[in-house]
């Protein structure tokens, strides 16, 4: 378990961490999610000891490590750009942490072989990092970090430098690895899909503060505020509320819309809108609409509903939020 209490970090006039407190449960895979400049990397690097805090306390497994250097924090760290030791073979890279601890040769050899097998790099022992692909290099970096039996594994945008296909594969692979090797893991990402996919807890950061912490489903369905809602998925403005585009129901008949809407407590009401454009995106259809107020928004409906509605540009429809949809009142202080 990792705890960070009242962490503050200032770079000149820029506040990277503004009184951040967070708990990361033992054995979990937690994502720190946020836009660039939100402080997520600074938070991770403070946990690792690569960055010092102006004030605040960091504990790892019950031990106060605030004043400890990274060497004595019991961490494994994986960098976005691999940070491979280029002059060493894959084997020596993975063995590095063990060999500087002067472990017996046989033990090192056995452990390195085990790890290379786990990360799928057996047979690559004698290659140099330059002879590996990006994904292979990152798996080597992961094996290197795991070799020292870290209390916590810290990953800083680990898939950020990889192309989309490899990134998706490695993400799935990391999830399965975590299920096998239950080391407490913190992953920094700016990609909400990655966070939703891989982690079992997400902390959303914005402007040096934590907006919300929870499991992916809670964050998606019951966001604490409009920032979290907007960052975790696309949103549409319906009246004075935010709704997910796939939660918008379109109806031709005003009476039907009003009757249905009355059953939904706290709904934004029924909005009359003109169809501006209908876009087919494979199995789903995006309907771009303009409300009476002039506000533009998009609804995402199924192909079948689109057939039933027979929507055409210029026609008037009635939009409402579906039952049990996530709805957030817009905070005028925070524009999205």
């Amino acid at each position: 378990m990792i705890t960070v209490s009242n962490a503050r970090k200032q770079y000149g006039t820029f506040t990277a961490l503004d009184d951040v407190s967070v708990e990361i449960p033992r054995g979990s895979l937690t994502a720190l999610l946020g836009p660039s400049g939100s402080g997520k990397s600074t938070l991770l690097r403070s946990i690792a000891g690569l960055e010092g805090l102006d004030s605040g306390v960091v504990t790892i497994a019950g031990r106060d490590v605030t004043k400890e250097p990274p060497q004595r924090r019991g961490i494994g760290f994986v960098f976005q750009h691999y940070a491979a030791f280029k002059h060493m073979t894959v084997r020596d890279n993975v063995a590095f942490g063990l060999s500087i601890r002067k472990r017996p040769k046989a033990e090192i050899a056995r452990k390195v072989d085990d790890l290379l097998e786990i990360v799928g790099l057996e047979g690559f022992q004698h290659r140099y990092p330059a002879q590996l692909s990006g994904g292979q290099r990152q798996r080597m970096a992961l094996a290197r970090a795991l070799a020292v039996d870290p209390e916590v594994l810290l990953l800083d945008e680990p898939f950020g430098a990889l192309d989309a296909k490899v990134r998706a594969d490695l993400r799935t692979w990391l999830r399965r690895l975590h299920d096998e090797v239950h080391v407490t893991t913190v992953l920094v990402t700016h990609d909400q899909e990655e966070a939703l996919d891989v982690s079992d807890r997400i902390a959303v950061l914005n402007r040096g503060r934590i907006e919300q912490v929870g499991d992916p489903v809670t964050l998606y369905d019951r966001p604490a505020n409009d920032f979290v809602m907007g960052f975790l998925g696309s949103v549409a403005t319906l009246g004075d509320q935010l709704v997910r585009p796939h939660d918008i129901v379109l109806t031709r008949d005003r009476a039907v819309a009003l009757a249905e809407d009355a059953k939904v407590p706290g709904s934004p009401g029924v909005i009359e809108a003109v169809v501006e454009r209908v876009v087919r995106l494979g199995f789903e259809v995006r309907v771009e609409l303009r409300a009476d107020s002039g506000e533009r928004f998009a609804a995402q409906i199924t192909r079948r509903d689109a057939f039933d509605l027979e929507l055409h540009t210029g026609e008037t429809v009635f939009a409402r939020a579906a039952h049990r949809s996530s709805v957030i009142e817009i905070d005028p202080a925070l524009a999205i």
């Binding site: 690569l50 002059h87 097998e117 290659r127 330059a130 002879q131 994904g135 490899v166 096998e180 239950h182």
Partner: protein, 317 residues
């Protein structure tokens, strides 16, 4: 908690997680290929052949100009020197080079130059490190004066050093006509070599690699020895080699402070000058060829070591 016990079940884990059997990143595994010589790096080989065909005419003109220039400036004079050295045949050459005074001068030259080169390897690396990694007032000024020994006529260097460490030393240090005098003079003129070859490598060095080492438990000293030094080694080596090659041929900076004492502080270049003065050009040429051979061997050794370390990083063993 640790993951140690979990690793015991690695066979099961591997079966589950292996990217090839798991099919998770098959595309990238094939890209790197089963071919151990790196079939995924075609860019190296294709790049040069493409430029050959497109700029063929300019290339051959360029090669011609370079060959002509090198011939006039370097190769022909060297050939003429070699011919002069062997004017009295192999025996004459050997006799001239193995004359006790000549051998002593060559010995002094090589020993002192090697010492200076080693000194430079250490001090040059330290200076480059401080200039890149630390910040202090006057840093840019210090960075600029590193090149001063290149710009200064070497005889001026000799006078400068003589005024400080000579017979009338204001600080009471007398290095005049000692080997220490030689070492100081040569260290002065060869100062920039290691600094200027290490500096760019250090600027380019990936700081995250050092952070990675620290996160794995490496102390600063261990990180320097096992991570930074191997990265800098080729640059240090090439700077040291160039400093050595420069030092064995140095004349101007040692001519005043060295004292020109045979078997003590007389270096090969001074011996050559002396042979010319006593009208023995063949002996002068012979010792020159010996110096040339040493310099050439040094540069050759550098090339071999550099290409070997290059290959280690880029190709399969």
């Amino acid at each position: 908690m640790t993951i140690h016990t979990d690793l015991g079940r690695s066979a099961a884990a591997a079966a589950l997680l292996h990217p090839r059997t798991g099919g998770s990143d098959g595309a990238e595994t094939t890209a790197a290929g089963p071919d151990p010589v790196g079939s995924d790096r075609p860019d190296h080989r294709d790049g040069s052949s493409a430029s050959t065909s497109r700029l063929g005419g300019i290339r051959s003109l360029g090669v011609g100009v370079v060959t002509l220039w090198l011939s006039v400036i370097v190769l022909l004079p060297l050939a003429a020197l070699t011919v002069a050295a062997f004017g009295d045949g192999w025996a004459g050459f050997w006799e001239a080079v193995t004359a006790p005074a000549a051998l002593a001068a060559l010995w002094v030259t090589v020993v002192v130059s090697a010492g200076v080169a080693l000194l430079n390897a250490v001090m040059g690396t330290v200076i480059a490190w401080v200039l890149v990694r630390d910040s202090f007032p006057g840093q840019r000024f210090v960075n600029a004066i590193i090149d001063l020994p290149f710009a200064l006529p070497t005889i001026v260097a000799s006078i400068v050093l003589l005024s400080l460490y000579g017979p009338n030393s204001p600080i009471g240090v007398h290095l005049n006509a000692t080997r220490w005098g030689l070492i100081v003079a040569l260290a002065f003129v060869t100062l920039p070599f290691v600094v200027r070859s290490v500096q760019p490598v250090l600027i380019e060095a990936d700081r995250e690699v050092e952070e990675a080492a620290a996160s794995l438990g490496a102390s600063n000293l261990t990180t320097f020895r096992r991570i930074i030094l191997p990265t800098l080694a080729p640059a240090i080596l090439s700077g040291t080699g160039l400093a050595f090659a420069r030092a064995i041929g140095e004349y101007g900076s040692v001519v005043l402070i060295g004292g020109n004492i045979p078997r003590e502080t007389q270096v090969a270049s001074q011996y050559i000058q002396q042979q010319i003065e006593i009208d023995s050009p063949q002996a002068a040429a012979a010792v020159s060829v010996a110096l040339l051979a040493i310099a050439f061997a040094t540069l050759l050794l550098l090339r071999v070591v550099a290409s070997r370390s290059q290959r280690r990083e880029e190709r399969a063993p």
